[in-house]
């Protein structure tokens, strides 16, 4: 089996991740933050250690500002829906995943907010975003790496722009975190959202949200928080304010083990390896007639897409699947990216690499593609 669908979820998981899950279930099986017996406290301590691990990775000071959610979609919904107000105007990139796009479109459909779409690929990003700025603009939402083309936005430039214009900055780092070095402390970002099961190599079931401040923000989901239970409303303190209900301790433990795994290898080494595979894959695919490839302009990163003039992406993915090669076809839950790339209405075949992929697997993929396109 060759797995080239790491943008959907990384596979396989490192050995340390699997043993961390087992340890969490067997040794930390209580409910974190719900009791004071040994198993509940062991679970709570494990979750707290994971908060510290994430805070260190993001280079932010306060572990209590790391909120664990079920997934990145939940994090993005939380960030967007707690911040918008009647009349908000959102600046939204054209490479957003439905995780952020759909809540925005729903609010706009209800007539509560308005939004403008800017091109994340514009050569002069700042001018492009500025072009859409209105006096009522208050939120900037941007996916740092397109899950379709791998196009990457300069996080520093976004932060500076948001600060200069007083915009609340919400970043989707689903394809970014774990694939590159965090270049500077991310405490200038208002809301930073990421999954645990992609670049951080955790299992599915846990996402994260770094929230710079909860001041003035309403609660999101309400329910048990393990503290201040007599009060009708959720506690004001983070992270409990946004963590109603039982946390997924095994998934959170896996995320921490994944971060430790990343630290051992080093994000720069990961980026180097994935970029080399992406570059080689782009070159090989481009050598086929009638194949069009979409990738980062420097052919780096870990995500690329391609399509064939005659063969439907679903057919190519199916043929590759029949040969034991896992890729994804279709829209990848990012309709705007296809509109801007011109890959409507069929979508693309997406290849996405992880740390366990090899050049040998690329050779097998290349041979398979030769067979498929010949047939």
């Amino acid at each position: 089996m060759i797995y080239f669908d790491n943008a959907a979820t990384t596979y396989p998981k490192p050995e340390g991740v699997l043993s961390a899950v087992k340890h969490a279930v067997e040794r930390c099986g209580g409910n974190p933050g719900r009791g004071s017996h040994a198993l509940a406290l062991a679970a709570a301590e494990l979750v707290y250690d994971a908060r510290c691990g994430v805070a260190e990775l993001l280079r932010v000071r306060e572990p209590e500002h790391i909120i664990f959610t079920p997934n990145a979609t939940f994090s993005l919904n939380l960030a967007i829906l707690t911040r918008v107000h009647e009349g908000s105007h959102l600046l939204v990139s054209d490479q957003e995943h439905n995780a952020s796009l759909r809540p925005i479109l729903r609010l706009a459909g209800e007539g509560r907010i308005s939004y403008s779409i800017f091109s994340a690929k514009a050569p002069l990003l700042r001018q492009e975003v500025e072009r859409h700025l209105r006096p009522e603009s208050d939120i900037l939402v941007c996916n740092l790496v397109s899950n379709v083309t791998g196009h990457t936005v300069d996080v520093g430039e976004l932060i500076r722009f948001a600060k200069e214009h007083g915009l609340y900055l919400i970043l989707d780092a689903s394809q970014w975190l774990g694939h590159t070095e965090v270049p500077f402390p991310l405490d200038a970002v208002d809301a930073f959202c990421a999954p645990g099961h992609k670049g951080l190599y955790g299992i599915q079931g846990c996402g994260l949200l770094y929230l710079k401040s909860a001041e003035g923000l309403p609660a999101f989901i309400s329910g048990g928080s393990g503290s201040e239970s007599k009060k009708p409303e959720m506690p004001k303190s983070l992270p409990e304010r946004y963590e109603a209900g039982t946390l997924a301790t095994p998934a959170i433990a896996s995320l921490l083990a994944g971060i430790r795994f990343l630290r051992q290898i080093g994000p720069s080494a990961i980026e180097e390896k994935e970029s080399a595979l992406t570059g080689e894959c782009v070159e090989r695919l481009a050598s086929f007639p009638d194949v069009c490839v979409w990738a980062r302009s420097d052919m780096g990163g870990s995500v690329l897409s391609f399509s064939h003039k005659h063969l439907h992406p679903d057919r190519i993915a199916e043929e590759l699947g029949n040969r034991g090669i896992c890729v994804r076809s279709g829209y990848h839950c990012a309709p705007l990216a296809h509109a801007s790339a011109g890959t409507d209405p069929r979508g693309t075949v997406r290849i996405s690499f992880g740390i366990f992929n090899t050049r040998r697997e690329l050779d097998v993929f290349y041979q398979a593609m030769k067979e498929i396109l010949k047939g």
């Binding site: 928080s225 503290s227 201040e228 007599k230």
Partner: protein
Amino acid sequence: MARETMIVGSVTYALKAKKALEKLGIRVRVVKGTPNESSKGCLYGIEYDIRHEMTVIAEMRRLDIPFEHRR
């Protein structure tokens, strides 16, 4: 040895306090406050040797952790 309990609110604050105090060599146990001790409901706290009282208070203030002594 006499022990003192300081209520800090959430389990996250209690663990933050515990980790910070342990770095200073102070052994701490995380405990749970019972509802009849608080108008707010369940709360967590830390239990420590009373001889470290001043250090614990200073550390809570440094970490910006709200606290009150268990009555």
